[in-house]
Every structure is written in structure tokens, then in C-alpha cells.
């Protein structure tokens, strides 16, 4: 297989397969959660489930004072790499074009040098996240193979993308093929790992807010 063939496989059938697994997997995972249902609360309500749930979806993004003091590094590094990933995936011009090809519409991009700088910051924050995971007593205790696998598969597109942009090591088609394949690997593994939190956290936060809000407590 030549590098051009590899690239066209990655952009063609590879992407299709990965996208199908990603979409079907995410839908199945969300469906299997919601299908379980939950019993209606029979106690007399002191507050609203719906509005408290919606509020918590937003408010849980910001930690309370004490938590920030105790888990500062986890929180700051977490903000950096999440925001960084968002900027790189959704605000980098070639990515927007790529998405536009698939879904038919696009949106304004950030200047490329800005995204390049964000990529560096994101890669560094991902390294901090890993160092924190391996050195923090609690995180080390909780860490399993999946945590390391998802870290690696999230880091891979960042690094391969950065290399592709700067033409490091290989020829452009090879670098781009590797980058796209690494994204496809991430998409394939996504529905079966904790990466699902990017979807399920909206449900989890809503439930948390609803449970508390029903009792009249803002969570």
C-alpha cells in the first residue's frame, strides 16, 4: 500500500467505518442508560427538578472554593486540555472544512497560529494530566488500563496533528494518514470507554441537580 492509498483509505472507508461505530456506539450507550428509567419521586417536592437539573449542568463546571483549593492542579489542567481540545477540533480551519464536507456547513475559524499555540498548550496540559494521574495518590489508586488507554488515544491525534502541521519526520500524506487514523482509533474506542462522559455528563449533572433541587438544595 502506498502512502497515497493509505491516505485515501483513511479518508474514505476508514473514516466511514469509524464514524458508524462512533455514532452507533454513542447512540446505543445513551439508549441503554435512558432505557433503564427511574421511578417517579412520590415525596412532596420542595423545589423543581427540571430547572435545578438544567442549572447544575452549567454550574457544575465551576468548583466550589474548598474543592478548588484541594484539587487545583486537577481542575486547572482539566480546563486547559478540555478547552484546548475544543479549540483544536472545532476552530481549526482545515478541521472545519473537513466537517463541512461531511455535514454541509461550517463556521468561522481561529487564525492558524493561534490554534498552533493552543495545540502546544494542550499537549503540555495533557502531559501534566498524566503526571498528575501517576503521582497523585488518589488518582494512582483509581487509575486502570482504560484511563491510560484513553489518555494515549486522546493524546495521539494531538501529537500526530501537530507533527502533520509542522511536517515533522515523514512526508505530508503519510503524516496526514497517520493523523486521520489516530482520530479514527479514538472514534472507535470512544463509545466503549469513559470518553462517553462527554455525552453522559449532561445526564449525570441533570440527575444530580434534579435530585437535590427536588429537596430544595442548589447543587
Amino acid at each position: 500500500m502506498t502512502e497515497i492509498e493509505l491516505l485515501s483509505w483513511a479518508r474514505g472507508p476508514g473514516l466511514q467505518i469509524a464514524t458508524i461505530i462512533f455514532v452507533a456506539g454513542v447512540v446505543i450507550r445513551i439508549f441503554e442508560i435512558l432505557m433503564l428509567g427511574r421511578k417517579a419521586n412520590l415525596a412532596e417536592a420542595k423545589g423543581s427538578e427540571m430547572s435545578s437539573g438544567l442549572k447544575t449542568i452549567v454550574s457544575r463546571t465551576v468548583p466550589d472554593r474548598d474543592t478548588f483549593q484541594r484539587s487545583g492542579l486537577t481542575i486547572v489542567a482539566g480546563y486547559f486540555f478540555h478547552i484546548g481540545l475544543f479549540v483544536i477540533v472545532f476552530l481549526y480551519a482545515p478541521h472545519i472544512l473537513f466537517i463541512k464536507d461531511i455535514i454541509g456547513f461550517g463556521w468561522p475559524a481561529l487564525p492558524t497560529p493561534v490554534v498552533d499555540a493552543v495545540a502546544v498548550v494542550t499537549i503540555i496540559s495533557m502531559l501534566v494530566v498524566l503526571a498528575n494521574r501517576l503521582s497523585n495518590k488518589v488518582m494512582r489508586y483509581l487509575t486502570n488500563f482504560e484511563d491510560l488507554l484513553t489518555w494515549f488515544l486522546t493524546m495521539a491525534p494531538l501529537v500526530t496533528g501537530y507533527m502533520a502541521f509542522h511536517r515533522m519526520g515523514f512526508t505530508a500524506p503519510t503524516l496526514l494518514a497517520i493523523h486521520i487514523l489516530s482520530v479514527e482509533l479514538l472514534l472507535v474506542i470512544f463509545p466503549f470507554t469513559k470518553l462517553m462522559h462527554s455525552f453522559t455528563l449532561f445526564f449525570a449533572r441533570w440527575y444530580n441537580g434534579a435530585i437535590s433541587g427536588y429537596r430544595g438544595v442548589a447543587s
Binding site: 441503554e32 433503564l36 457544575r60 466550589d64 474543592t67 483509581l142 469513559k194 453522559t200 440527575y207
Partner: protein, 421 residues
Amino acid sequence: MSASLEKGINALKEQVDSTVAAFFSSCVHCGMCAQACLFFTETGDPSRTPINKTEPLRRIWKSEYTLFGRIGKILGLSKKVDEKLLTDWETLVYDSCTLCGRCSMVCPVGNDIALMIRKTREGMVAAGHAPEGLIGATTRAVTIGSPMGVTWKALSAQISHVEEDTGLKIPVDVEGVEYLLLLSSMEIMNFPEFIEAVAKIFDQTNSSWTISSEAFEATNSGIQIGASDIAAELVQRIVDVAEKLKVKTVISPECGHAYMAIRWDGPNLIGRPFLFKVRHILEVLDDLRTQGRLKISGKEARKLTYHDPCQISRRGGVIDEPRKLIDMFSDNFVEMPDGGKMNWCCGAGGGVSANERADEIRLKVFQRKKDQLDEVRPDAILSACSNCRIHLEDGLEEHNMDIPLLSLTETIAEHLEGSEV
């Protein structure tokens, strides 16, 4: 109550619903819940991280309720729930968690971890992995009607004392009144002043009320040990009496989990809404305050703080009421750092105080409360849970700290207009 691993696993399966599935699907192992838990912050033991305590429930969710997990189970790859796991987890689930719910407030993905641990207990007890102390309390609650073995005879004697001391009649088994007052065994045996306080307040505010000789116990060991069937039976006793006496409101006394049991879990345990209201005593007092019926005179000069009992504040929703009440008699009230919905647990709730095996760790984690108190340096601590009160007194004594613990209801009774000594 015969227990077996199979029953435990079935009980865990029954606990999985869309909330549990959304929560487990969202956990990213960030470890932030550990920092919200006094059993971790005061011991530094990572196995006490809240989310780790839910491992038995997580394994059941994963292997039974996820596609990938089910495939793994068929291939024999899934982690099993076995006797060893439950034995290893017993002290984490019971001795190292008060179900205080602080972890549920900080989890960045929104997991209600305390609820997950509460659900895990259902499986633990069904599999025979609950602490002796809690099993004893639960057995006494079912057979005698009180976890401490307090009988109507004992309460009746205390009522007579209160009547002698106050000259007030304590209504017993009266039909059609506004309030049915429940009591915790702890109040009956250690703090009968609480009954006296309620009698005085209801006398001044002209409220009609009663105590039932059939169902007076407010506590519910069933929800602490995690046995919903027993919890439902204990709730049903109160419901039967409240409906027979046709009371408008059942009052939960100064006890945290009793409020959770009757106010929030109660109707869900028995499977139907109540025909009466349930209110915490502080909500009732605050209602009387709003109506202008609760009249207070004189102000406290002492520096006061309020310890929020977890099940009443964070998990129960009674947060503003105590503060408004305290305002009535104090100009020198100081909040503890993290006071209110983020307050730190005393360390003895959720069945920990009924579990002798946890005595050592319960006093160790009191250090968190001590640190909070050291920042405020109050002259007295108000609270509204006799379990918190007993344990706080214990902890303060251990550290040679001489700060009196006051019941908020009793303190209000002392400040009633016309009751000044």
C-alpha cells in the same frame, strides 16, 4: 433475615437505574471526590475515595447493563462480585462513609456518589456484609420499635417528668391535631429537654399536637443499613398512626437520617404519597416565625455557630430556616467555613455511630470538624441532630475543647417571650 451472595447480587441489580448508569458512565477517575470526603482528608487513605466505595455496584452495572460489559461477561472477562470483594468493601461502605453527600456536591461530572453508596449498601446487607452494630440496631428497631431498645414505657416515664417540670400537659394519642411529633431514641434517653422545649413552644404558639404511643420513633435503621424492605416497614408504622390520628403534619425531630427517612425516602419506600405533610421541627418553627406566632425576647451575647447536619441541610433542604431562627435571638452568629450546604459532616452519621467497629475512625475524622471550629472559635455550637450532638460532644472532649453543644429547638424554647428566668 437470611443473607446470601446471590441475594446481594440481585439486590445490587435492582438498584441500577438510569441515574446509576449515567453516573458510572461519566466517572473519569479524577479523584476530586476524595478531597470532599473527611474519611479521606483526615486519613490520606486512597481506598476511602468515595467513588471507590461503589465498586460492587459498578461491577454489576458494567457486567449486566452495558453492551460491552455483557460481551465481556460472556467471554469471562468481567470482574465478579464475590464474597471476597464484599468482605473487603464492608468497612469502606459502612465504617468510612456517613452518606453525608459532600462528594455528590463536588463531582465535576455530577455523580451523586452518596446515593450510589447508599444503593451499594442494599447489596452489602442482602449478602450478609453489614456491621454487627447496625444489624443489632436494625433488629431492635423492628422487634422493639427503637434501635436503642427504647419502649413506650420509657418514653411515658420521660413524659411524666416533663409534665412535672413544666406544668404542661403532653398530649398523647390525640386525634385530629395539627402536629404529630416523632422523637429519636437518643432524644428520649439523653435529651428529654427536647420534648420539654417543643411542649413550651407549642403552648406559647397555641399549636395543637400529639405524641403517639404506637409510633413515636423517628429514626430508621433500615435506610442506614440499606434494607429498603425494613425501612419501608418502619415508615409504614408512622404512616398508619398519622392517618389513624388524622394529623395534618408529621414532625421529624432533631435527627438527620430520620428526616431523610420520613420526608424524602418515606413515600418512595411505601410506594405512595402521604396523606399528610412531613416537616422538620426547624421548618415548623420557621413557619411559626413567619406567621408571627413564635415570639422571642432577649438576645444572646455569646458567639454562636451552626453545625449543619448533612441529612437536614445538604441532603434535606433545610438550610435557610435555622439561620432565620438563630437571627431571632442572636446578633453574634458566625458561619463555619463551608457552612450551609457544603458543611463538613460530624463523622458519625449514616449508621457510623451505631457501628462500634467504626469508633476509632469516627473520632479520627472529627479532626476536620475541629479545624472548622478552630477557625470560628465559637462560644457555643447550635445544631439540630442529636446524633451529631452526641458525637460532637465526644470529639470535643477527646480534644479537650470546652464548647457547649446546643439544640436549636431547645435554645429557642429558652428564649420564648415570658420564659426568661
